[in-house]
């Protein structure tokens, strides 16, 4: 599905799209600026039965709903460290917060499913989408730590991502934004028990703490907040593509069909600037802006590579002069030669599918553009912050 989704466009359309998107500045078919997203409608807290939920609709009608549900699960005791801390447990309680190795998360604690109507859940495209979204969430290992309750129990988080509309465009940005909002709105009941007892929770939903504590209302239990700064937030995955010298965000299906390169870039906010992993690309400025870092990058196979090439007039047998029958053989020969060159070289106004892989320089430029201070990722995060959580 999806990435290799077959878009049926005529060579003339592809040539036009490619030409208009390659201009400086590019002219997008819907008139957006290169960094502009489609306007969207967002709401959270739509499903009272979940711990957190969100719904986003784009103006073109694509719509997604995400629900987050948490269940308490017993942490499997590790057999490789038999009874290492049996005795010391009670005394260390206060120290735990400062010890990295105690509050541990496990990627198994998060289960994500993506449902796209008309596609099986084991469809390659669906699996790829879900892998990309969960990869971004789990990449820095910080997220699962939030699910830690005590040594014996943890929250198991189920993320169900539903695409309601048929996939009109590559749904990755939509699903990612919706997941982001749902996670922001997710709340877990307040823990009443202490230490490693069987967990007991406060029945009062109003007292429940946000999974991602909000700067304004930072009440949550100590345990869940201790490893995150108040500004931490879930990742977003942005779809970026390059055509010619232009970098275009949130491409529509038609635009993606002429992409030279398409990338899914997952960006998170680094909560802990000092702990830089190999993947980190820190932006220097931290003041007033989000401290962004790359969590994952995936290349998306753009459908442009599968498109049929256009036929230049010179080699088109149904094109006037040829069809009408060039009289002298001399002329015909000339035309055949022209046709041969036309096959190997680009002719203006004729569509030709991009060949070869993505150039490292282009990839670097794309990633740089995403991370730019005050750039797109920054503004997207700001805008998502503005959504009312209830």
């Amino acid at each position: 599905m999806a990435s290799s989704q077959h878009v049926l466009l005529s060579p003339a359309e592809l040539a036009y799209l490619h030409a208009s998107l390659s201009l400086t500045p590019p002219i997008r078919p819907d008139g957006r600026s290169p960094t502009q997203f489609r306007p969207l409608v967002a709401e959270t807290g739509i499903l009272p039965g979940t711990n957190g939920s969100a719904r986003i609709c784009f103006a073109d009608g694509t719509e997604a709903i995400v629900g987050v549900k948490a269940e308490v699960e017993r942490t499997r005791t590790r057999h490789d460290f038999p009874s290492l801390d049996e005795g010391a447990e009670g005394d260390d309680d206060d120290l735990e917060d400062n010890q990295h190795d105690v509050v541990k998360g496990d990627n198994d604690w998060v289960e994500m499913t993506v449902e796209i109507p008309g596609y099986r859940d084991d469809d390659a495209g669906t699996v790829f989408l879900s892998a990309m979204l969960s990869e971004a969430l789990l990449a820095d290992g910080e997220f699962t730590k939030r699910l830690w309750i005590n040594r014996r129990f943890h929250w198991k988080l189920y993320l169900d991502i539903l695409l309601i509309s048929p996939p009109l465009s590559y749904p990755l940005p939509l699903l990612s934004l919706t997941t982001h909002l749902a996670l922001l709105a997710t709340r877990l009941p307040r823990l009443k028990s202490e230490g490693d007892e069987d967990p007991l929770f406060d029945d009062d939903w109003a007292a429940a703490a946000y999974l991602y504590p909000r700067p304004a209302a930072k009440k949550g239990s100590k345990k869940t907040t201790s490893f995150a700064t108040p500004t931490a937030r879930p990742p977003v995955t942005l779809l970026v593509m390059a055509v010619g010298n232009n970098i275009i965000f949130d491409p529509s299906k038609e635009e993606l069909a002429v992409a030279d390169v398409a990338l899914a870039v997952s960006v998170g906010e680094s909560s802990n600037p000092s702990s830089s992993t190999a993947m980190d690309i820190e932006t220097e400025e931290t003041k007033g802006h989000h401290n962004l870092r790359i969590l994952s990058v995936r290349t998306i196979d753009p459908p442009s590579r599968l498109t049929p090439p256009g036929i230049p007039n010179a080699s088109n047998s149904a094109y006037g002069a040829n069809a009408a029958g060039a009289k002298d053989t001399e002329k015909k020969k000339q035309q055949q030669e022209q046709a041969r060159t036309a096959e190997s070289e680009a002719v203006e106004g004729v569509w030709k599918a991009p060949r070869g892989g993505a150039k490292p320089l282009v990839l670097a430029a794309l990633v740089q553009k995403v991370l730019e201070k005050g750039g797109v990722a920054d503004e997207v995060l700001d805008a998502l912050d503005g959504v009312d959580l209830n």
């Binding site: 003339a12 036009y16 201009l23 002219i27 502009q36 409608v41 004729v350």
Partner: protein
């Protein structure tokens, strides 16, 4: 601002107390449909009489002009009052009067005493042409009619015909015999043509064509035997809803026209396919090569020259200014559709002029062609204000 996030539109709970006229909705619990249109889909249930007494309507059998009578009350509170009877819904009896004939969107169901009632099968409005009663749906897919100008996309190439997506319930067919051969040659199609069928149109190609005839089952057959029709290039495509019902492209005086654009964009062709598929492209005057000019340019000769470029898939050179204005027109059409307005020559032209003016005062200047979101609403508001 790269992203606009809008709050959801508050949903208003419909006023409940307005609709207590349960009598309004069609009655007659025991009607058994046995028309050509439908298969009776259930068993008859006989034990229910005590709980829901059947409301039999005697009016239908007594008076001569027997339109089902309904209380003409219950107007929705609003600026314009529309009676509830303006809309018919599936299963609603329209008339039992035998003088009417049933058209689209209706079926015959047997009423009491063996009388046949024309019954609506759609939610929509009743229209009549002489003695023909039909129901036009509030919204539906495009239904082809002979003579319609449509834009379509080739989705399948078969031995002697193409299968074309025209946004209808079925694919349309374009037979090899219904196209012009390049160079305006008139002859019988040969096997060579059949083998070369992809050189005329291949999968994905866009065509503008006319509906030539309809099959019994509703499938359309297209033709492109005119210089106006054929393969499309030099522009952009967009799909909106067609004339099936609701907003979108409507049948009007002209579906195709050339619009003189602002900002040095030059002339731009707009094709509003009746099926809701729209093509906006640079206007290209047919180029007449030198040799042809030297010869006597008769009508047939011209035709020959023009049709020579008919199957090209190579775009001409298009200036950025033209591309920008094409994008602006596309934005106008999108804004019209998203705001529930009709799309025709008049609206597109007015909308375009409005959009050009709006761009002049916007921060981006005349080069700003974005018309999504709030700007689209602004545009629609300006248009409806002016047209009202």
């Amino acid at each position: 601002m790269p992203i606009t996030i809008l709050p959801p539109k508050a949903f208003r709970e419909p006023p409940r107390n307005l609709h207590h006229d349960s009598d309004d909705v069609m009655s007659d619990a025991s009607s058994d449909s046995e028309d050509s249109d439908s298969q009776p889909g259930g068993v008859s249930l006989d034990s229910g009489e005590t709980i829901h007494p059947r409301k039999r309507r005697s009016a239908a059998t007594t008076s001569g002009s027997t339109f089902t009578k309904r209380p003409k009350t219950a107007n929705i509170t609003s600026s314009i009052s529309v009676p509830r009877s303006a809309i018919v819904t599936p299963g609603e009896r329209i008339t039992t009067d035998p003088q009417w004939m049933r058209g689209h969107g209706t079926y015959l169901s047997s009423a009491t005493l063996g009388e046949q009632a024309i019954t609506s099968s759609l939610a929509g409005i009743v229209t009549r042409t002489n003695k023909l009663l039909s129901v036009r749906p509030l919204r539906a897919r495009y239904t082809p009619e002979v003579g319609d100008l449509v834009v379509g996309r080739i989705v399948e190439v078969q031995a002697k015909r193409w299968r074309v997506d025209v946004g209808s319930t079925q694919l349309a067919a374009l037979p090899l015999s219904a196209i012009n051969l390049p160079g305006g040659i008139l002859r019988k199609r040969t096997e060579t043509d059949e083998l070369q069928i992809r050189t005329f149109f291949a999968e994905g190609d866009l065509v503008v064509a006319e509906v030539q005839q309809l099959f019994q089952d509703g499938g359309a057959v297209l033709h492109t035997r005119s210089l106006k029709y054929g393969k499309l290039r030099n522009g952009v495509f967009m799909a909106v809803s067609g004339t099936g019902g609701g907003s979108g492209v409507v049948r009007s005086r002209r579906q195709v026209w050339t619009l003189e654009s602002a900002n040095n964009g030059g002339p731009i062709d707009v094709i509003l396919g009746v099926n809701g598929y729209v093509w906006i492209s640079k206007h290209v005057d047919p180029v007449i090569p030198e040799e042809a000019k030297n010869q006597q340019t008769g009508i047939t000769n011209l035709e020959e020259v023009v049709s020579a470029t008919m199957y090209s898939s190579q775009n001409d050179r298009i200036e950025p200014e033209t591309m920008r204005e094409i994008a602006r027109i596309r934005g106008v059409v999108t804004a019209l559709v998203e705001n529930g307005l009709r799309v025709d020559e008049d609206m597109v032209t007015k909308g375009y002029n409005e959009a050009v003016e709006m761009a002049l005062v916007s921060e981006g200047g005349p080069e700003d062609v974005y018309l999504g979101g709030e700007r689209g609403e602004q545009l629609a508001a300006a248009l409806t204000g002016r047209l009202a």
